[in-house]
Symmetry: C2
Subunit: 468 residues, 2 copies
C-alpha cells in the first residue's frame, strides 16, 4: 500500500498559507513589472553539461531518467539530448543565461527579465534550506557593455520589492568581488577564492575560526590574516569613507582600486534610499563562482540568523557557452554581461509561516455560501451564485438541501464570511447572514456588496515587526 507523507525538504503549504504565498508572489510580480522587467519562464530541466559548466554545484543536481529507459530507447530523436543527460535547474540565473544565448536574435537588449519559479537542489534539508523552493529573480543582460547603473538599480529593486512584501525590513549588504580579489592579490595570494570563502564565514565561525582558515588553507601569515579580518569588518553606507578605511590597511592592487571606485559609485547612486535600506559590507562574497563584480545579499530585521533572504550580483559572461555553440548564429559576437537579484521566497515564507508571523484572513476565496434549502429551489440558488460571480464576488453553492443551521455551520467550518438564503425566514425573499455577527438582512443578488475587507482574502501579519 502506497503511503502518504511529507518529504523532507519539499515544503507544501496549507490552503491559507498558499493564499498568502500567492499574494506575496503577486506583489513581487507587480514590483518587478513597475521596473519594466519582462516575465519569462524557462523549462525545469537543462542539459547536465550546461548546468555543470556554471560552477561548483555538481553535488546538488537532480538528474532525470525515464522509468522505462529501455522502452524509451527506440523513441530518441536525432539531435535531442538523451533524457539521461537532463537535470533539474538549481537556480534561475543559469537557465536564464542559456535562454538569452539561445534566443539572442529575438530579444531586445539590454534584456530585462524577471522569473518566479521553483528550483531544486539535492542538499541536506535544514532550516531555511529546501530541496524544492521558489525563487523570484530579476536580471538584466546586455550585449557588449552593461553600465554600472544597472548594478545600482538592482539595489533599488531589491529594496522596493522587499518593501512591497509583507515581511520585516530587509537591509541590502553590498560588496564588490574585485575589492576582495584585489585585496588578496595585493596580499600576495595567487588564488583568492578560498580566502573569499573563509572571510564569508565570519558570522558563522567567528574571528578566530576565520583566522585559522586563513592561516591554514590560504597560507596567510598573522599580519596578513589580521588585515584580511580588518577588511571583513568594514561596513558603512558612505563610499568615500569605506575606500579610505580600506586604503588605510596599506594593501595595493589595481583590481582593488577599480572595485572600490565602482562600489563607491553604486553607493552614491542609491543614496536616495532610506537609511538602513543598504550598506557596504566587505565580508560579503556570495558562494556562486560566476559573480565577477558588485555582489549583494539581504537579511531580514529580526531574522538575521536565517541568513541571506535575497542575493545577487554581476556576472561577466554567463551565457558564453551558448554564444559560441547555440542556434544564435554561432561564433563570437559581443559578450553578454549581466547583473541580477534573487529573492528566496520559500526561505522567507517557510520561516514566517512556521513562526505564525504571516497568514491569510481565511482559507478559501469564497466570500458567500449560497444555501440550498430545498431540491426544488436548486435553480434559484444557482442563479444567485451566477449573479454574484458576474460581479466578481466569489461564492459556492451548498450541494444538498439541508437545514439552515447545518449550512451555516458548513460556512463557519470553511471560514466563508456570509451565507445567502434565497428564501429567508424573516422576509421570505433573499437574505444575507453575516457569520461573525449573526446579523441577517434582506439583499438583492444584483446589488449587494460585501465590504472590501471581507470580499477578498487579506494577508494577516503578526509577530516580529512585519510591515503591513
Amino acid at each position: 500500500m502506497a503511503k502518504v507523507r511529507p518529504i523532507s525538504g519539499f515544503p507544501e503549504w496549507l490552503p491559507a498559507q498558499r493564499l498568502a504565498e500567492q499574494q506575496v508572489l503577486d506583489r513581487i510580480r507587480e514590483a518587478f513589472e513597475r521596473f519594466g522587467f519582462t516575465p519569462i519562464e524557462t523549462r525545469a530541466v537543462e542539459p547536465l553539461d550546461w548546468l555543470l559548466s556554471k560552477g561548483e554545484t555538481d553535488k546538488e543536481i537532480y538528474v532525470l531518467r525515464r522509468l522505462q529507459a529501455e522502452a524509451a530507447e527506440g523513441e530518441r530523436g536525432g539531435g535531442e539530448p538523451d533524457d539521461a543527460g537532463l537535470g533539474l535547474h538549481f537556480d534561475l540565473t543559469v537557465p536564464f543565461a542559456r535562454y538569452v544565448a539561445q534566443n539572442r536574435a529575438r530579444l531586445a537588449f539590454p534584456f530585462r527579465r524577471y522569473q518566479i519559479q521553483k528550483s531544486w537542489r539535492g542538499e541536506k534539508p535544514q532550516e531555511g534550506r529546501y530541496r524544492e523552493f521558489y525563487q523570484a529573480d530579476a536580471d538584466v543582460i546586455a550585449e557588449g557593455e552593461l553600465p554600472l547603473a544597472y548594478d545600482a538599480e538592482m539595489v533599488e529593486v531589491l529594496h522596493e520589492v522587499t518593501a512591497a512584501m509583507p515581511i520585516p525590513a530587509v537591509t541590502v549588504r553590498i560588496n564588490h568581488r574585485k575589492v576582495l580579489e584585489g585585496f588578496y592579490r595585493g596580499l600576495g595570494v595567487a588564488d583568492p577564492q578560498p580566502a573569499l570563502r573563509a572571510a564569508d564565514k565570519l558570522d558563522k565561525i567567528g574571528e578566530q575560526g576565520v583566522r585559522e582558515l586563513l592561516a591554514g588553507e590560504v597560507g596567510l601569515d598573522a599580519a596578513a590574516a589580521g588585515k584580511a579580518l580588518e577588511l571583513a569588518g568594514i561596513r558603512g553606507a558612505d563610499g568615500a569613507s569605506i575606500a579610505a578605511r580600506v586604503r588605510a590597511l596599506g594593501v595595493a592592487h589595481e583590481l582593488l582600486d577599480r572595485g572600490l571606485e565602482e562600489l563607491a559609485w553604486v553607493l552614491g547612486a542609491v543614496a536616495h534610499l532610506p537609511a538602513g535600506a543598504y550598506e557596504a559590507d566587505l565580508k560579503i562574497a556570495r558562494g556562486l563562482d560566476y559573480y565577477t563584480g558588485i555582489v549583494y545579499e539581504g537579511t531580514m530585521a529580526g531574522y538575521e540568523s536565517l541568513g541571506a533572504v535575497c542575493s545577487g550580483g554581476r556576472y561577466d559572461d554567463l551565457a558564453a557557452g551558448g554564444a559560441a555553440g547555440g542556434e544564435s548564429g554561432g561564433g563570437g559576437g559581443p559578450k553578454l554581461p549581466g547583473t541580477g537579484i534573487s529573492i528566496g521566497v520559500s526561505r522567507i515564507l517557510g520561516k514566517l509561516f512556521a513562526d505564525g508571523a504571516l497568514g491569510a484572513s481565511r482559507a478559501t476565496p469564497a466570500c458567500v455560501l449560497v444555501a440550498l434549502t430545498g431540491e426544488e429551489l436548486r435553480a434559484e440558488s444557482l442563479a444567485v451564485a451566477r449573479a454574484l460571480r458576474r460581479r466578481g464576488i466569489p461564492c459556492e453553492v451548498h450541494p444538498t438541501a439541508q437545514k439552515y443551521g447545518k449550512q451555516i455551520r458548513h460556512a463557519e467550518r470553511k471560514g466563508i464570511p456570509y451565507v445567502w438564503f434565497p428564501r429567508g425566514e424573516a422576509t421570505g425573499g433573499h437574505e444575507v447572514r453575516d457569520i461573525v455577527t449573526g446579523e441577517q438582512a434582506a439583499a438583492d443578488p444584483e446589488r449587494w456588496q460585501p465590504p472590501e475587507e471581507k470580499r477578498r482574502v487579506r494577508l494577516v501579519t503578526a509577530g516580529a515587526s512585519p510591515k503591513p
Copy 2:
C-alpha cells in the same frame, strides 16, 4: 563547450508569449476563485509507489536521482524516502489526492481546490503533447458522499473558465463510465476496459477500425459490435432522449440504468448554459483508469483535430492509499470521492502561439522609457521613474546618457510606447513622446496618465474566431 538548444517537448515562450500566458493564467485563476476553489500547490515529486498505484502510467514517469548518489548515501534520514524513489508528477490529480489524504484532519470538506502547475511525462513529443506542460485543475473531494451536483458544477466551471480565456469556444462533451461499463456488461463482456478504449478511438480510426478492434481484442460478434458502434454514435444535449436512444438498442444492465439516470440529471442541471456549451457524447471514455462516473472532455471550435483541450471526471477513492497508511490518523474512515477538471493550458497556448492566433500588444511591461540626457541629470531621471512607479506606471530608465534619437530607438526596439524627457527640447521641462505618433507634449511626473490600453500589456487575438 556546453551547447544551448531547445529540448523537444519542453516548450519555452518568447517574452510577448509569456506575457500572454500570464494573463491567461490570471483569468483561469480568477474564474476558479469566483467558484470558491482554494489554491494549493503540491511539490513536483511524489514517491514512485504512490504514482504507480494510480493507473497505467509507468512508461511516462521521470524518476530523480542525485548526481552524486554515493556522497548522498551518508545524509539519508530515517523515515524519509530514498531520493531514488521519487518521480515527477504526471498530472495534478494524483498529487492532490495524496495531499488530501495527508492533510485530512486540517482541511474542511467538501474540499474545493484549484491548482495551476506544470506536470511532466516522458512521452514522445508531438503536436499538442509536451513532456513539460501547464495544467489548470479544479477538483472537489468529499468525506463520505459527494453529491452529483458537483459533477454538474464541473461542467459549468469548465464552460465559465474557458469562456473567460481568449480562445475559441469550447464544447464540453459528457459521458458516464457506468453507461459504458453497464452497456458492455449487458452485452456479456466481462472486462469492459478494452471495449471502452476501442470505442474511444472512433474519431481517430473510424467505424471500421473500431469494429475490427471490438471483434478482435474484445471478442464481440457482429451484432454486438454494431450495437456498440451505435452507442458510440449517440450525442445530444437532452437527457431523456439520450436515454431513450440507448434503451432502444435493447441492452439491459443495472449499471447502465444508473449511469443513464445520473447522466440525465447532470444534463438537466446544466441546461441553463448556452447552446453548444455542452452535449452528451457516448463514445467519450477518457484514458485514465481512475475515473468511475461522469467523465468529460472539451474540444475547441476550429481546433477539433488538436483533440481534448480539457477533461475530467469523477473518481471514487483516489486518496484511498493514504487514508489507510498516512499521518492522517490511519485506519479506515469514510471514503474520499472526488470529481474534477483539468485544462491543458500548454496544449492550447502552444497551438494558438504557433498559429499566431494569440499574442501580446508588446514584449515588455514597461510603458515609459525615461531618457537620460546627461550624466549630471541622472538623479532627475531616477526621480521621474520613481514618481511614475509610485502611481503604478511601469517604466525603465535609460542606463547611459545618449542622444535623443538613440534613446527613442531604444524604446522602439523594445516596444515601449512612451519616452519621457526630463528636459524636453520644446519646453526645457518634462515632456512625453508618443513613440507611434511622434507627438511630444509637456507632462507632469506626478499627474500624467497614459491611456489604459497603453498602460498595461493587452492580449491580442487573431485567426480562427477566438473570443475577445
